[in-house]
Symmetry: C2
Subunit: 122 residues, 2 copies
Amino acid sequence: MIPPFRLDQCCPSRSLLADLADKWSLMILYVLSHGDCRFNELKRRCEGISQKSLTQSLRRLERNGLVSRQVLDTSPVAVEYRITPMGKDVSTPLKALLSWAYAHSEEVERARAAFDQKTAAK
Amino acid sequence: MIPPFRLDQCCPSRSLLADLADKWSLMILYVLSHGDCRFNELKRRCEGISQKSLTQSLRRLERNGLVSRQVLDTSPVAVEYRITPMGKDVSTPLKALLSWAYAHSEEVERARAAFDQKTAAK
DNA sequence: GCCCTAAGTCACCAAAAGGTAACCGCTATG
DNA sequence: CATAGCGGTTACCTTTTGGTGACTTAGGGC
């Protein structure tokens, strides 16, 4: 059960949010939820991410047990990132969030336009 | 439908994520999903947020049509923030995410400890 | 008159995020 | 041999984020 009203600093969801609530981590989790993926492939799929940010986000996700890193001993060495069972669990509400975004993008766009007009008029 | 593998920069969910994927916005939406709330009350419930960040996040949420701002003509002037129907929709997967975090905090904690030990040993 | 609360705004500054580019070892390809 | 791809790491530098404290407008309580 979540305490209904308050999210204080010691609340465990705070520390998870701090690690998870950035666009890259969410995107990576989302992409990985569709299947294992190698580093550069992941980089291509999260368009615009830099190598550095990708590495950092992956390490963070790995540290939290949401993603696992498998070094395959092929040649040249390949690294495959996989979503863990725990990561899979998180990805369910996450996918819901993204499909919501996808479905309501026009509505959001209208809301933004209306808001911008109002504040410009002021 | 979401394209299954790729999130490119023009994808509508990208711009929503950019506006929503920070810890404060998610927390605020979460708190508001439990009922209307005034500015300072909201500030108390999102422990640690600064006045400035709260204002900024609220404006962003308002702009995206997820939250509405009602000025009540009481004395002294009160301002009440409410979640909109659209915000309510978003808050459903969001709540799922937070209850997941709450339920799995120990597991995440263990994963972190294991990871830190592994990397320290190296 | 003085101080408090509400709900901000504004200017300033420090810390952190994040991009760029170079470099690494290694392999495959032309 | 040169080049390109993989999977990074590191240094550097810029942008953004975000916190602090002062100030504001307006009413209420003592």
